[in-house]
Every structure is written in structure tokens, then in C-alpha cells.
Symmetry: C2
Subunit: 141 residues, 2 copies
């Protein structure tokens, strides 16, 4: 199966108002997009900084932004792009199948935080990388 | 088995330096303290605010602080207290068995973030609560 940017899907994350600080859902084992728990890890991305490009050959990603705002860019094998902006003004989880090129840019606060809940443990052998200049994209927000 | 504050354990979380923003480990399915994946959710706690007290009867918690710093207070049935401060200056995960009273206070930045990776989905029937004044503790940091 060829991965397509149309296979990325978005799930709204409920936020519960609590005195002293809210609670935000991340992921449940019953959620669509949950393919098993391999690992959870955080990526920090500073404002206007970009990390790109990376493609996972096996990993299913579930991306959540608990702080700030992050612009994700995905590209599939047909060369179609998809842009998604998620974060505290748009509390969504992105479920991303393997086989897509992606990169991201911090656009919300000075530091923006991404949590990835993935179905496998990080394995450098299933990741391929390109320099940012190798895929032409206008990263202006 | 009676839960004891001695059964809480701490795991150091590796932080990888990356240009544009670091990466921090959260939890792998092979880690000690991993008892299955039920749910991941975020709690935000503002500076100097306290949320207390709560006891889970079934849930195993794995607490990570990806932003700021949080003081956690645990109390067991013998009345023993344990204080743990985790966050960006002390990147640890706390694995907490059910049966302990706990509360927490934001002490790092204006907003502090906790991620709980729990082995069961949130269920209000397995949570008991007390008002902050019902357990005497000096919350001064």
C-alpha cells in the first residue's frame, strides 16, 4: 500500500476546565489511531525553527502538541503536500501512517512541545532522512 | 498488599540535544514501571497552584513533567509522606502504584505540564478524593 497524505487523520482532544490548570486528553487504548504502545517521547521545537525531513518506514505516529503551536508538513510519494497546525488553539491529535515524509516548524510560543505516541520503539533503521533543501517547500507560516 | 511510598520509583529520562529543540524520552513498553497502556493525558498546573488530594484504587501512574517543575506529595496508609520534584531541571519519570494519596504543586514556570501514562483508562469509580485541608501538609516549597 502506498501511503497518502489523505490517510492522516485528526481527532479532537477534549479539554476539561480545572481550577489551577486544565486537563487535556492525549490518547486512550480504545481510540481510533491507536495501534499499540511502543514508546512515548517529546520533541521540543523553538519558535521559527524547522526540523525536516524524515520518513518512518514502519512507525505509526500519534502527534499531540500540549504547549504552543506546531505546523506539520507531510508529503506522500505522489508529491502531494498536507499542512496541519495543531496546538493549544487547535487541540487535535494527528494519527500518521508510515511512509510519509514530514517536517515541522514551531510557530506558537518560544518553545513548542510535541508528544509522539508511537506503536513501535524508536529504531533508527526504519527512519530515512533528507536535508531540508532536498524537498522544495515554502515554510512561511 | 498495602501501598507504601517506598514503592514509588524514579527513572531517569534521557534528553538528546538537537538543533532547534531537544528530544526527551517519555516511556517505552520495555521500561520497568510499564504495566500496559490505558491512557495518556496531560494536567496543567499553574505556578503556586495546588491540586490535592486524590487516590487511585487501581491505576498505576507514570508521571512525566515535560515543561516546568512540579512538586508531588504522596502519602501512604501509614501516614508516611514522600516529596518528589521533577521537571526540566530534574528529568525523571515517577512510577506510582495505586493506593497512595497524592497531590501536586506547580513550582517551575507560569504553567507546568504533567503527562500521566496510565495502565487503565480514566474511571471516576476508582478515584477517591479529599479536600486539601483534610490531610495536613505544609505545601511551602
Amino acid at each position: 500500500m502506498t501511503a497518502s497524505v489523505n490517510n492522516i487523520f485528526r481527532t479532537s482532544l477534549p479539554v476539561i476546565s480545572v481550577l489551577g490548570g486544565n486537563v487535556m486528553h492525549g490518547m486512550k487504548n480504545t481510540d481510533i489511531g491507536f495501534k499499540g504502545f511502543g514508546e512515548a517521547y517529546f520533541s521540543y521545537i523553538q519558535k521559527n525553527k524547522i526540523k525536516a525531513w524524515k520518513k518512518h518506514l514502519k512507525m505509526n505516529l500519534n502527534l499531540i502538541v500540549p504547549l504552543g503551536s506546531v505546523m506539520f508538513i507531510f508529503m506522500d510519494e505522489k508529491g502531494s503536500f498536507r499542512k496541519e497546525i495543531i496546538g493549544d488553539k487547535n487541540t487535535l491529535r494527528l494519527s500518521v501512517p508510515p511512509g510519509l515524509w514530514f517536517g515541522f516548524k514551531g510557530i506558537g510560543s518560544e518553545v513548542n512541545i510535541i508528544l509522539n505516541i508511537s506503536d513501535i520503539i524508536h529504531d533508527d533503521n526504519e527512519v530515512i532522512r533528507k536535508n531540508i533543501s532536498e524537498i522544495n517547500f515554502d515554510w512561511k507560516h
